[in-house]
Structure formats: structure tokens, C-alpha cells
């Protein structure tokens, strides 16, 4: 099992189509699936670390439960999975995560349908800015019109 697929979620939003695609793709490519949940939160130097501790604990519990649910259908299909959660600036956290790991075959955006790639810089999603720095293709999934 040399293939590795990363599915990235943001703020606990999950698009079921992306999950279906990731599962089918991993099954036919015999790939290991890594779930990365990014939770956006800013930590400025003026914050007291203790002030956000309770909130962080709550996020961890909630996200942990969600990730466990998400990985279940993959495990049922005998797919190897791994789930990670990162809190902070999503783009920075994704880059840091990728820097620590061996390269993935594909990165799937799991929190919605297609990303807004056109328009002003402000309207573009942070992942669009990051896509040109990625080593592997970034995949987004949309439902086909009937």
C-alpha cells in the first residue's frame, strides 16, 4: 500500500459526495486515507492560553467524534485510515502537516463542492491560493446534474 490520499475538512463541514469519492478511489487504488480536520482559530499574542482551553477541549471532543464517524465507513470497506485534527490558521496548518508527512497521491477537498477559483483574491478560498504550491493534484467533487 504505497498510495496515500488526504481528505481535508474545514470547521467540521463535511460534503458527503467528497467522502463517497474518496472511499471509492481509495478502494480501487488500494490507498491509505488520511482525514485532516482543520479548525480555524486565531491565536494572538494578547490571548491568555487558559482562556481558550475549555473551548479547545470542546472542539477536540466534537471533532474527534465526527472523525470517528467519518472513518467508520472506510474501515468497513477494509481501508486503512488515519485521522488528524489541527487548530489554527487552516492554510498554515495544512502546509505544516504536509511538510511532516511523505507525499500524498491526491488531496481531496471534503468540506464542500467546487472551490471558488476565480474572482478577487478576497473571494478565493485559501486552498485555491495554496493549490499552486502543492506537490500533488487538489481534487474537488461536485454532484453531476441529472
Amino acid at each position: 500500500m504505497n498510495n496515500k490520499v488526504l481528505i481535508v475538512f474545514e470547521n467540521e463541514q463535511v460534503f458527503s459526495g467528497a467522502l463517497t469519492y474518496a472511499r471509492e478511489y481509495a478502494a480501487r487504488s488500494d490507498a491509505r486515507v488520511t482525514f485532516l480536520m482543520l479548525v480555524a482559530m486565531s491565536f494572538s499574542c494578547f490571548d491568555f492560553p487558559g482562556a481558550k482551553r475549555k473551548m479547545l477541549q470542546e472542539i477536540e471532543t466534537k471533532t474527534g467524534k465526527l472523525l470517528a464517524e467519518l472513518t467508520e465507513t472506510f474501515i468497513q470497506k477494509s481501508l486503512e485510515t488515519c485521522a488528524v485534527m489541527r487548530i489554527g490558521d487552516p492554510s498554515q496548518e495544512l502546509l505544516k502537516f504536509l511538510a511532516d508527512r511523505p507525499s500524498f497521491q491526491a488531496i481531496i477537498w471534503g468540506s464542500g463542492e467546487d472551490l471558488p477559483f476565480t474572482g478577487s483574491a478576497k473571494k478565493k478560498h485559501w486552498l485555491c491560493h495554496l493549490s499552486r504550491h502543492l506537490e500533488c493534484p487538489l481534487l474537488t467533487v461536485t454532484r453531476r446534474l441529472k
Binding site: 487504488s29 499552486r132 493534484p137 487538489l138 461536485t142
Partner: protein, 449 residues
């Protein structure tokens, strides 16, 4: 060869109109108002496509279809009718009709259907050509594709195979790197020698050392017998080192010595063994970047990268998908007792529209599954995985040689500084060495406001 088309309709005006539409495209057309005379003509000459009306005196279109298919199964038939019904259309398709065209239709609709039928014939022809070619040189690995990128690679392989130079094959997973390596070996003067593949990413350092160099009896606990390494096995042949980017530094040094000195020493051994081998390596990583980052040895990189072959991803050559698909189907038919002859146009459209992040290997897997669940001799859209039929995939991948423009670099740096200074413009301007007004103008110009 120019396709031969026959049009049959009892209405001479319609017949003339249809004939003119096809002739305008440069095809050879024969037209008949009498189906029996048309059938007689078809027995004497082969036609690639027959377009016939359904309701005609003497012989109906359905009977004509059955007759045509009995005589020539490769002839495509399009039926036209003003009294279309779903039942009739299903019956016609079962009998082998390519399309059931409902009257009235526009010249564009008619021409589109004709072209689709001719394309299908082209696929058959190509598939036959590949199978024929495969039969002639069955012992040679065949690289399937007619795209310019694949043709260039084939030419390069033929040029470099007789030489003994090291080759580095780069490309994403599933693009056919090992197939290229096998082709190089098969076309070289080492073809009678062994081709030894090894995956450097599949072993840890100690195991890889043992696999490549072998060991002497008693070299370490458990070494109860002598083991010949893969480099020694590849003597007088070719060694293919896949995922060479994963090779540890210490192993790179050892391998470099083998390539330079043409000799190796087994683990625990005290004598050198001469080897005469050719190295073909492959990686999905950007080795140049790995060298720059100090993750891969520079001297090793230049030693293995005498000739570089870059395998295109399947997304870069979608025109090859039908050819590859029919080639895979043919191979599946040979290995199993299934006889899949055709991939429906809808299924083919879904395949050609898919991004294939897993490349040819993924296409193989999809078709294998489809062939297993297909009910007849055809792969339809419903036989494809649900994610292909229900979902649409979009890929965003920058070109590998992407370089930032000055404006992009400027934008990235200003965004980075703004974030790090909590959007304090005075501080950002100070770091950049410009005044606040200039920064403000840049923010507006780059759309960062």
C-alpha cells in the same frame, strides 16, 4: 480508408437531402429507395454505416437491420422513424442498431449521430490494430497511445535502448514507469539477460541493503545461508529501482560505488564481486528539488539521470483513453471467459471526462470492475463505479515547471506580512521599507483589501 455509407429511404426527397448532408462532409454515399436493392448491393460490397428508414414497402428497417448484422457484424446501422416508441427503440438496440433517430430531426442532429457511429468504427479499428500489433510482438512490452507525448517517448526509448546509459523515469504513480523500463530492457542488447525490479520504498534501510547487496553466511544473527542480492542477480541485465527518491543516503553512497566501480561486496563479505548491469530508476518525486533540499545526493542524481523520461499523466493525454480502454478490455477477455466487445458512448464519455488521479492503473481497475458486473457484451455507464456516474471531479494542479511572477511573489509576501503583523499596516510598511501610502496602493492594486 474513407468510410462507405449507405442511406435507404422510400421518400426520394428525404433521401436526396440526407445524401447531400453526408456528401458535404466528404464521405462516399450510396442511396436507395428500395431496401431489397440496397441489400443486394450490400452483399456485393462492404459498407461501414447503413442509415435506414423503418417503414418502407417491401422490407421494414428492422428486418433490414437483422439482415445487415447477419452478413456483417461490424457494419453500424442507424434507424430513422417518424413513429418512434420506447419499445421499438429497445428492440432495435437489442438487434444491434447503433441509434434510433426520431423524425423530424435537424441536419446537425443527423450529422452528429453519423459522426458518433463513425467514431465507434474508428475505435473498433484501432482496437483491432493494437491487438494485431500485440500478436506480432507479444514478448515486447507495448506502450499504448497515439498522443504526441507517448509517440515522443516511444522514439526516445528506441534511441536510448541500445546504449548503456542510466535512465531516470519520472511521473506520477500508475503512469507506466515500469512498462517503459521493461521496454528499454527488451530493446537493449541486454534483452537476453535478467530484468530485476526492486522497490526502494518498500524496505527499511537494513532490509534494502540486504535485498540489493545480499549477505554472506553468518553475516548477522539469522543469516543461516548465503543470499545473493538483486544487484548481483541483475548481472548482464537491467536493474529497475522504483521509488529511488526513498533510498536512504547511506544506500545511495553504496549504490554509487557499484555504478562507478562496477563491483559490490555482500554484507559480511570480504571480497568484491564484479557486476555488469544497467540501471533504470524511477520516481514520482521531484528529485531536483530533493537535491536542492539536501534529501538526495547530488552526485547520485547526476549519475542516475543521464537520460530523463517524463511520463505524462492520463489527464494530459485524454485522447489515449479509448485506445487504452479497448486494450485493457481485450486483455481482460483473454484472461477471463468474458467477451466484452464494446464500451457504450455514454460510458466512454464518462471515462474520457474523468481526471484519473490514479492514472492507467486506475483505468484498469475501473474496467476490470465494470467487465465483472456487465450483463452483456457491452460496458454501459451503469457498470462504472457510482462516483464516476454521480459525481464530477475537478483537479487543480499547477504545471511542474511553474514559476511565480514578480506580482505573485509580491502579493504572497505582503499577505504573509499582513497576517503576521495582525494587519498592522504601519508595521508591514516598515518591514517592507516603504511608506504607508505605497503599501496602501499595493494592497488596492493586488486586491488584498
Amino acid at each position: 480508408m474513407m468510410p462507405r455509407i449507405m442511406v435507404i429511404d422510400d421518400d426520394p426527397i428525404t433521401l436526396k437531402r440526407l445524401r447531400r448532408i453526408i456528401e458535404k462532409q466528404g464521405y462516399k454515399v450510396s442511396s436507395y429507395t428500395n431496401p431489397l436493392a440496397a441489400l443486394k448491393q450490400m452483399e456485393a460490397h462492404h459498407y461501414h454505416l447503413v442509415i435506414t428508414d423503418v417503414k418502407m414497402p417491401g422490407m421494414g428497417g428492422m428486418d433490414l437491420l437483422i439482415n445487415v448484422k447477419t452478413h456483417s457484424s461490424t457494419t453500424e446501422v442507424i434507424l430513422m422513424t417518424g413513429y418512434a416508441s420506447i419499445d421499438k427503440a429497445i428492440e432495435a438496440t437489442r438487434e444491434g442498431a447503433f441509434y434510433y433517430l426520431e423524425k423530424p430531426f435537424t441536419p446537425e442532429q443527423f450529422l452528429k449521430t453519423v459522426k458518433k457511429a463513425l467514431n465507434r468504427l474508428q475505435f473498433y479499428k484501432e482496437s483491432k490494430r493494437i491487438n494485431g500489433a500485440k500478436g506480432k510482438v507479444s514478448d515486447l512490452p507495448v506502450i499504448i497511445g497515439k498522443s504526441p507525448k507517448i509517440r515522443d517517448i516511444e522514439t526516445l526509448i528506441h534511441q536510448i535502448a541500445p546504449t548503456d546509459c542510466s535512465v531516470l523515469i519520472t511521473g506520477d504513480s500508475g503512469t507506466g514507469k515500469e512498462l517503459v523500463a521493461r521496454s528499454i530492457h527488451a530493446l537493449s542488447h541486454r534483452a537476453k539477460g535478467p530484468f530485476v525490479p526492486a522497490n526502494c520504498g518498500a524496505f527499511n534501510e537494513t532490509l534494502l541493503d540486504n535485498e540489493l547487496f545480499g549477505h554472506e553466511k553468518g553475516a548477522f544473527t539469522g543469516a543461516v545461508d548465503k543470499k545473493i542480492g538483486l544487484l548481483e542477480v541483475a548481472d548482464k541485465g537491467t536493474i529497475f529501482l522504483d521509488e529511488i527518491g526513498e533510498m536512504p543516503h547511506s544506500m545511495q553512497v553504496k549504490l554509487l560505488r557499484v555504478l562507478q566501480e562496477k563491483e559490490l561486496m555482500r554484507v559480511g563479505g570480504n571480497r568484491t564481486i564484479s557486476v555488469d548491469l544497467r540501471l533504470v530508476s524511477a520516481t514520482s518525486k521531484n528529485l531536483k528539488a530533493e537535491v536542492a533540499a539536501g534529501m538526495f545526493r547530488k552526485d547520485m542524481y547526476y549519475r542516475i539521470n543521464v537520460v530523463n523520461i517524463k511520463m505524462p499523466s492520463l489527464k494530459e493525454r485524454p485522447e489515449d483513453i479509448p485506445l487504452l480502454a479497448y486494450h485493457i478490455i481485450k486483455r481482460l477477455n483473454q484472461n477471463t471467459d468474458r467477451t466484452i466487445n464494446f464500451i457504450s458512448s455514454r460510458a466512454m464519455a464518462l471515462l474520457t471526462g474523468y481526471a484519473f488521479p490514479g492514472n492507467v492503473r486506475e483505468l484498469e481497475n475501473i474496467l476490470e470492475r465494470a467487465a465483472a458486473i456487465s450483463q452483456g457484451h457491452e460496458i454501459c455507464a451503469r457498470d462504472l463505479p457510482p462516483d464516476l456516474t454521480e459525481l464530477e471531479l475537478h483537479t487543480y494542479q499547477p504545471p511542474k515547471d511553474y514559476r511565480m511572477t514578480l506580482a505573485e511573489l509580491e502579493k504572497d509576501y505582503i499577505t504573509h506580512l499582513l497576517k503576521n503583523t495582525n494587519h498592522t499596516k504601519a508595521k508591514t510598511a516598515e518591514i517592507l521599507g516603504i511608506d504607508r501610502a505605497s503599501l496602501w496602493r499595493k494592497i488596492k492594486k493586488l486586491g488584498l483589501d
